[in-house]
Symmetry: C2
Subunit: 460 residues, 2 copies
C-alpha cells in the first residue's frame, strides 16, 4: 500500500505538469467585479469542473444569480475516514492599472526572484495558485490508491466581490457540503520559511456613497462660490471618519471590540514581528492606525476604516474648470471581535446623512457586511495540521491573525455550523490585488506537499 | 455708400451660410486639454486662417510650444479709423462624460428649444459660436464697402487650459497686436432679452495636488489600519480648505479683497437678480458660499475655492479592497480685486505641506495663476458699445461681473497696456463645459448684428 512518502514523491515528480495546469487556469481573466468578464468566470468554472472530474471527483458547475459555483465530491479509500470540505475561489481582482504590469496580467510566466522562480500573473497567489496546491495533492493521492479523507471541493467565483451568492448556496446545499471540517486556502505563511495557520479573521463592511448636488456639471466660474461642491461635502465626511488619534469616529463603532487575551498577546510578541520591514517593504515607516496600538494589533485585532476609492469631476490631463454634480467614495471597515456589521453600516449611513448640507443627497450601495471570526487555537484540527506543517517546513506553524476578511469562513459557521482550518502559502510580498501579483514556485510545490501531509494527518 | 442698415441686411440675408460655416468649425474636436487632439486644434487654426483670408484679412497661423495662434489684420475703409483687436478662442473643453450627450458633441445640429432653434455641439457657445458672430459681422462689412475700424483678429487655442503660450506671444508680437481697444467675445448676456458688457472678471489660480504614500497599491485587508491612506490625507486637507462659514481658510487668502463700492452694489441690486431661478435651474436652492454674502457677490466679487476633480484607488463597478498608493485633486481658486495669484498658490502649497503626516509626500502641478481684472464703467468705449447694444436689443446693456476668468484680458493689460471691452451673447443655460452645450440661434444671428453696430459705433 502506498505511503505518504509515495504521495509526496508523486508531487515532486509532477511539478512541470502541475505548473502547466496552473498556467492554463491563470490565463482565464475571471475578474468577478467587472460584468464583461462574466463569461470568463464561467470558463474558469468549467475548466475546474473538468479538472475535478479528471481527478475522480463527481463534479458539476452550479449557476447562481452571480458567478457559478463548482462542487466536486470524492470518497476516501477507507471507510470511517473523516470528511473535509475544501474551499477556494477562482475569481480574481481587476488587474488595473494595467500600465504598471511588467507583462500582461493574464499571460502567466515564470520569473526569477530573490527566493528562486516565481509565478507572475493576476491570481497567481489569490487564489488560483493556492487552490491548485490542494488539487495537486488530491491528484497525487489518486495516483497512489486514493484519498485519506472524504473530500468535497467547493470553488466560488465571487470572493473578490463579497461572496454574494454563497450563503444561499450553502443553505440550499447544506447536506452535500457539510463536513467535519472546512479547509480554506486563501491565507499566508508567516514568512517564506515558517508555515502558518490563521485563527483570527477580520470581518468587512463595505459601502459606496455618492454625494449628489446640482442636476448637472457646472462651470466653476459661473457657479463657483454659490453652488455647493459635492467633492467638498464628501471630503468633509471622509475627514471626519477618523479622529486625531486615528480612531474611527462612528458612534458605537467600537461596540463588541475586545482587548486581546493576554495569552494571545504573548504569543504575538514571541512572533518577533518586524514592523519596520513590514512597512518598509512598501515604502512606509510609521504605523498610521490608532495611537498606542502595535502594528500587529492594527492589522489583526483592531477594526479600521479605509477609503478604497474616490472619484468626481475632471480626472483627465490638464485643467477643467468644472464644478461636478456628483462625487463618490468607496469606504470599507475591517471588523473584529463581536462588532455587528449591519450596525456599522447603519452608523456609517447615519454619520453621512448628518453631515449633508442643504441641496445635497447621499446614495448608498452595500457590497459587504460580514462579521469577524476566530478559531480556537486548541482544537484537534489545529494541532494535527500544525504537526503536519512542521513536518514539511521544519518549523512550528505560527498561529496568526489576518487583516483581510474571508467571508466564507463566517458563512460556513453560520450556515453549516462548521469550523474552518485556514492554511495558505502566500507571502506578504505576493502583491495580491496589485500589479505584478506573484506566487513563489516553492509555495506552489511545497503547498501541495503540505496539503498531502495535512490530509494524511487529519485521517490518521 | 453703404449704410449700417445695409450691413445688417446682409447679415440677415446670409444666415444659412453663416450656420454652415459655424457647423464646419464645430465639427473639429479641438480639445486643448487632451494631447491626442493637438492635430484637431491645428486643423481648427488652419480653418480659421483660411476663413480670415477669404474675408480680406492678411492672416497666418503661428505655431507655439502649445496650440497654434491665428492672427489676421485688415484695414478700415477710411483713414484715421480707430484700431481694435478682436480676441476669441477656437479650443474647447473636453466633451466627457460622453454618455450624457444626446447626440455626439462634434456633430453639430439644430434643435428646438423654448426660445426657438438652438445650435447643439461642444463649443457651440464657448467660444466658436461667439467668435463667429464677429467674423460674420466682418463678412457683412466686406460685402458693403469695407470695415469701419482697423481690425486685427487674434484666435488662440489654449484658453481652456490656461492660455499658457499667450503672454509670450503677445510680448513677441506687441507691435502687430496693440490696438486702441481689445474686443473679447467670451461672455454672456444678462438674460435672453438683455445684452451685457462685463466689466469685472475673476482671476484664477488652478493647482493639482497628488498625495503619495506607499510605493504601490496595497491590499486593505493586509495593510489596512497600519498603512497611511492617501485619500484620507487628501480628504482632510480639502475639508480644511473652508471654514464652517464657507470662507477659504488659506492664510492671507483675503489680502487684496475689497468690499464692493456702494455705486456698483446699488447697480447690482437694480439688476433684480433672480437668485432662486439661478440656482433652481441647476437643481439647487441654497447659496453655498460665504455666510452673509449675496449670490451675485459669491459669483462676481468674492473669491472662491473649488475642487474640480478628485481621484484615487478603485473607481470601477463593485468593490475592490485596495489601499491606494496615491490620490489626486484638482483645486482652483477664483480671485478678485488685488489678490495675488502667486501668493495664493504659495499659501495653498504651504497649507497642504503643513497637513502631511509621516511617510506622505505632496506633488504639485500649476495650471493657472491669473489675477482678477476690472474695466471702468465710465469709459468712452463702454458708453458707445452700450448704445450700440441698446439699439440692437431694445434694452439698455447691463454692466455686470463675471465669475469666470478670461486670462487674455489680464494679459492684454499687462503685456500690451490695452483695455478690453467684453461683449458676448451666451446665456446662463448654454451648458458650457457640460454635456449638450448649446448656443441660441438668436444669439448667433443677433450677435453678428450687435458686432456690426458696435464696430460702427466705435468708428463714429
Amino acid at each position: 500500500m502506498a505511503t505518504l512518502e509515495d504521495v509526496l514523491s508523486t508531487i515532486d515528480a509532477n511539478q512541470n505538469g502541475a505548473l502547466d495546469r496552473l498556467f492554463a487556469l491563470l490565463a482565464i481573466p475571471s475578474v468577478s467585479a467587472v460584468p464583461a468578464h462574466a463569461p470568463d468566470c464561467a470558463r474558469a468554472a468549467d475548466w475546474l469542473t473538468r479538472e475535478l472530474v479528471e481527478l475522480g471527483f463527481e463534479a458539476a458547475r452550479h449557476d447562481t444569480a452571480g458567478r457559478p459555483m463548482v462542487v466536486g465530491a470524492a470518497k476516501a479509500k477507507t471507510r470511517d475516514a473523516p470528511s473535509v470540505l475544501f474551499y477556494g475561489h477562482y475569481d480574481v481582482q481587476p488587474a488595473d492599472p494595467l500600465e504598471l504590469w511588467t507583462t500582461p496580467p493574464f499571460e502567466p510566466r515564470l520569473a526569477d526572484g530573490p527566493r528562486g522562480p516565481r509565478i507572475v500573473a493576476r491570481g497567481a497567489c489569490d487564489d488560483k495558485g493556492q487552490l491548485m496546491t490542494f488539487l495537486e495533492a488530491c491528484r497525487a493521492f489518486r495516483a497512489n490508491g486514493g484519498l485519506p479523507c472524504n473530500v468535497t471541493v467547493l470553488l466560488e467565483g465571487e470572493e473578490e466581490t463579497g461572496s454574494v451568492s454563497l450563503p444561499a448556496f450553502l443553505a440550499a446545499n447544506a447536506k452535500a457540503l457539510k463536513a467535519d471540517l472546512a479547509l480554506v486556502c486563501d491565507t499566508e505563511m508567516w514568512d517564506a520559511e515558517t508555515p502558518a495557520i490563521t485563527t483570527m479573521l477580520r470581518g468587512l463592511a463595505y459601502e459606496q456613497v455618492t454625494i449628489a448636488a446640482a442636476n448637472r456639471d457646472l462651470h466653476s466660474g459661473v457657479y463657483g462660490g454659490a453652488a455647493i461642491n459635492p467633492i467638498r461635502v464628501l471630503a468633509r465626511i471622509l475627514a471626519d471618519l477618523q479622529d486625531a488619534d486615528g480612531a474611527v469616529a462612528l458612534p458605537g463603532f467600537y461596540d463588541g471590540v475586545e482587548e486581546l487575551p493576554e495569552e494571545v498577546a504573548e504569543q504575538w510578541r514571541r512572533l518577533d514581528f518586524d514592523e519596520e520591514a513590514f512597512l518598509g517593504d512598501v515604502g512606509l515607516k510609521v504605523p498610521a492606525g490608532e495611537k498606542g496600538r502595535s502594528t500587529l494589533e492594527m492589522i489583526w485585532s483592531r477594526p479600521t476604516c479605509d477609503v478604497n476609492g474616490i472619484y468626481g469631476g475632471y480626472e483627465g490631463e490638464g485643467a477643467k474648470t468644472v464644478l461636478p454634480a456628483k462625487a463618490t467614495a468607496k469606504v470599507s471597515f475591517r471588523l473584529v471581535g463581536k462588532q455587528n456589521p449591519e450596525r456599522v453600516v447603519q452608523s456609517f449611513r447615519a454619520f453621512v446623512k448628518a453631515r449633508l448640507p442643504a441641496d445635497v443627497a447621499a446614495e448608498f450601495v452595500s457590497f459587504s457586511a460580514n462579521p469577524a471570526i476566530a478559531l480556537s487555537a486548541r482544537s484537534e484540527a489545529v494541532r494535527r495540521a500544525s504537526r503536519a506543517l512542521e513536518a514539511e517546513w521544519g518549523r512550528p506553524a505560527a498561529l496568526i491573525g489576518s487583516g483581510g476578511s474571508i467571508p466564507v469562513v463566517g458563512a460556513f459557521k453560520r450556515e453549516l455550523g462548521m469550523d474552518s482550518l485556514l492554511v495558505g502559502f502566500g507571502l506578504a510580498d505576493d502583491a495580491i490585488h496589485s500589479p505584478n501579483e506573484k506566487y513563489e514556485r516553492a509555495s506552489f510545490h511545497r503547498g501541495a506537499r503540505s496539503w498531502a501531509r495535512v490530509l494524511a494527518a487529519l485521517a490518521a
